[in-house]
């Protein structure tokens, strides 16, 4: 872990207000923020781990558990909501048996709810990794999930 983080941390030496960019880079590198990474970053910044957790848990971007193979995001932006986003999320939750923020037990999917991808014209949408699936219906959700299983 220390080795892995060394390159991430080095460019930030002496920089003011670098906490959030460091956490972002560390998460890019590791996929999430494990306890050991927080310890390492705290040592580098000469701050406490609790201070770092205080900051990291404030922001939606940071995750503390290992993500699944595919990141599945259900859009619940306003346009998606009025076009039925909630029942799309219901379907995904039912199919995968997880709630937003969780990863399936086989580590296949991590489910997240997000507010707006800016493709409101295609609402409701879900995004798997980087692919946008538009104008979803509950039955299309099942097809999309099956294509990744």
């Amino acid at each position: 872990m220390r080795e892995q983080l060394r390159e991430v941390l080095a460019p930030f030496k002496g920089e003011r207000g670098a906490v959030i960019p460091i956490l972002q880079k560390a998460q890019d590198e590791l996929g999430y923020l494990p306890e050991e990474a927080i310890k390492e970053i705290a040592r580098f910044l000469r701050t406490s781990e609790s201070e770092l957790y205080g900051i990291a848990t404030f922001y939606a971007q940071f995750r503390f558990t290992s993500p699944g193979e595919h990141a599945l995001k259900v859009c619940l932006g306003t346009a998606c909501h009025v076009r039925g986003g909630a029942r799309i999320l219901d379907t995904v939750e039912r199919e995968l048996e997880v709630e937003p923020g969780e990863t399936t037990s086989d580590y296949k999917f991590s489910l997240e709810r997000v507010a707006c991808f800016g493709c409101c014209a295609l609402a409701p949408v879900i995004v798997v990794d980087k692919t946008v699936y538009s104008k979803m219906t509950p039955s299309k959700v099942t097809q999309v999930l099956d294509s990744y299983r």
Binding site: G17, V19, A79, H81, C116, C119, V132, S134
Partner: protein, 636 residues
């Protein structure tokens, strides 16, 4: 380099491209275009050109805002008007290359519109189309028309001449020009930009900071993203002008991490500016020096509030603090700081280029210029639009937006996102400007505009927005933290059919407390969706509370699906598609929904063949149907 040299070089390179006689193919490949498949189209075009050994310049451009017919491709051949094609897929792309590029048939049947000199039979002028005709493009002046990764394109279209002009003026004169333009902050609050700059200009302390707020958090708004992706230099030039006017030497762009393409484009643009001497020390040979850093937001809606945003840049939890002191006196790291939103800054560069009087020629007495909106929801032509202030709401929804999808009845429009309000039918003729929208209980906001039709439930929409603000409340002040939670609980109860008499009064009183007592604008405006829906749609709340009925048939706990036995033909389509096996029946057996299992996903309702239309959705009534499947025909 001086500005004259930069411009000369850009024009020369542009002319070389023009004179080369090569056709140009522009593909709208902003985030929205990409979601609709623009990158596939781009790949097909490149492959097809290579296969046929054709020479053409292929450029990725930003978004012209016609989201509903993406991907858009423009083909410009020498001595021909530029032709725009919509809804292009790989197949159509190949046809266009074959027909137009090779055989010179512009395919009017596929064309959306033409632009530039000359006309084409059967193809209207692009800006005569109903969705574009009422628009005036200042912020979006270059989006979709230039290569956002090529500074020359921006410069040829007048870019950086505003900065060059500003540098010839004193900072006080620049501020005067802004005041003359009447520009008000486009992030939502609508504070006059010139006055804001003046406060910071006069403040004592160095260094001074300028921050560009690109943390667009309204869940349904994407104006800023489009500008950053399609024309980043317009924003960056605005930053330089603002920095010069207030005397800032350091700048930050605080941009959402959810906008990877915008971040990439900013990065490229900043590098180019440094190479051209437009960023760094002694910009364009003047005494003015300015440096810009990009900070990625980490996903917190409250960071759109300026004091929270500064806390986040400083590496803290993004929580707002009381003002005064205002950022102009004590902002980032305790130094004088000015924060402007992306759209504001994109307007600044245009104003300095063309003059404050020109800008003030658009709009109303108190709301000058133009405003972008992300038009979405149940409207036919969704997209990104820019209109002069004061335009009637009706014109936006019916002329530009093309009315309601499927000719359903218009119900309401929600402006300003989670901070705004819902306006009902009788306000359709309202003028879209800061004062009129505020008087109606909504706000201009940053520009989200969500259209609702008869099938949208306003109580559900109010609950949706409050759910959003409640989750995003930072928790620092009690009215917002506790108030939004209590309001959400009441609204959730109402949508579940557990509303009680007096709930509306309680919501109104809580809403007033949250509005007046909250520390920042997140809490201060959070009750707006609830207060306006109660104001304009009281009867719908009453239906939910008193009759346990959702008139729009949206709230799941209040609706029931039934299969009408006299219409069901036992085709088993619904039975097979039900995700929870809640439909009983079989061959020649009329189907019945087991209400205890039904999750109300509406799949059966959608798959039931139209010629049968056997499934109904009702609220507040019970339909008598058999409990168990009965043989087909037994009903008669």
């Amino acid at each position: 380099m001086t500005f004259a040299e930069i411009r000369e070089r850009a024009v020369a390179e542009w002319e070389v491209m023009e004179r080369s006689g090569k056709p140009r193919i522009l593909v709208g490949a902003a985030t929205c275009g990409r979601s609709a498949g623009a990158l596939d189209v781009l790949q097909t075009i490149n492959a097809e050109l290579a296969k046929r050994n054709l020479d053409a310049t292929v450029i990725q451009v930003g978004c012209i805002g016609l989201c509903y017919i993406e991907p858009i491709v423009e083909i410009a051949k020498p001595d021909r008007p530029r032709i725009f094609y919509s809804g292009v897929n790989a197949d159509i792309a190949v046809q266009l290359i074959e027909d137009y590029l090779v055989n010179d048939n512009p395919r009017p049947d596929l064309a959306l519109g033409a632009l530039g000199e000359g006309s084409l039979d059967g193809v209207p002028q692009l800006f005569d189309l109903p969705m574009l005709q009422p628009q005036v493009r200042v912020t979006l002046r270059n989006c979709g028309f230039i290569d956002p990764e090529d500074t020359n394109h921006y410069v040829v279209r007048g870019g950086y001449s505003g900065l060059a002009r500003a540098l010839q003026m004193t900072p006080e004169q620049v501020i005067e020009e802004m005041k003359k333009s009447g520009l008000r902050g486009r992030g939502g609050a609508g504070f006059p930009t010139g006055t804001k700059w003046e406060f910071c200009h006069r403040a004592v302390g160095t260094p001074k900071y300028l921050i560009c707020n690109a943390d667009e958090g309204d869940p349904g708004a994407f104006m800023d993203r489009s500008v950053l992706e399609g024309d980043p230099h317009a924003v960056l030039e605005g930053m330089l002008i603002a920095a010069y006017a207030i005397g800032a030497s350091e700048g930050y762009i605080y941009c959402r991490a959810e906008y990877p393409l915008a971040l990439e484009r900013l990065d490229i643009a900043l590098r180019q500016m440094k190479e051209l001497g437009l960023l760094g020390d002694n910009i364009l040979g003047s005494d003015f020096s300015f440096h810009i850093k990009v900070k990625e937001g980490a996903g917190a809606f409250v960071c759109g509030e300026e004091t929270a945003l500064m806390a986040s840049i400083e590496g803290k939890r993004g929580m707002p603090r009381p003002r005064p002191p205002f950022p102009a006196q004590s902002g980032l790291w305790g130094k004088p700081t000015n924060i402007n939103n992306v759209e504001t800054l994109a307007n600044v560069s245009a104003i300095l280029e063309r003059g404050g009087d020109w800008y003030a020629g658009y709009g109303t007495e108190k709301s000058k210029g133009t405003k972008t909106f992300a038009l979405a929801g149940k409207v036919t032509r969704t997209g990104l639009i820019e209109v002069p202030m004061g335009i009637p709401l009706r014109q936006i929804i019916y002329d530009i937006g093309g009315g309601i999808v499927g000719d359903k009845a218009f119900k309401a429009v929600q402006t300003g996102g989670p901070s705004g309000g819902c306006l009902a039918t009788d306000l359709l003729d309202i003028s879209v400007d800061y004062e009129s929208l505020t008087a109606a209980g909504s706000i201009m906001g940053s520009g989200g505009m969500i259209v609702l039709d008869e099938e949208s439930c306003v109580v559900d929409v109010a609950r949706y927005f409050l759910d959003f603000t409640q989750k995003e409340s930072c928790g620092k002040c009690v009215p917002c933290r506790v108030g939004t939670k209590q309001m959400l609980d009441i609204l959730t109860r109402i949508t579940r059919g557990q509303g009680q008499p007096g709930d509306m009064d309680l919501l109104l009183s809580l809403g007033q407390t949250v509005n007046q007592g909250s520390l920042c604008a997140l809490g201060g405006t959070a009750p707006n969706p609830v207060l306006t829906t109660i104001r304009y749609f009281r009867h719908e709340y009453e239906a939910h509370i008193n009759q346990k009925r959702c008139p729009a048939l949206v709230c799941l706990d209040l609706i029931t699906f039934y299969i009408l036995p006299d219409k069901c033909q036992a085709c088993m389509i619904c039975q097979r598609s039900c995700p929870v096996d809640a439909i009983k029946g079989g061959k020649k057996l009329i189907h019945v929904i087991d209400q205890s299992k039904c999750v109300k996903c509406a799949t059966c309702y959608e798959v039931c063949p139209e010629r049968f239309s056997a499934i109904v959705k009702v609220s507040g009534e019970t339909i008598e149907v058999p409990e168990e499947p009965i043989p087909l025909g037994a009903e008669e």
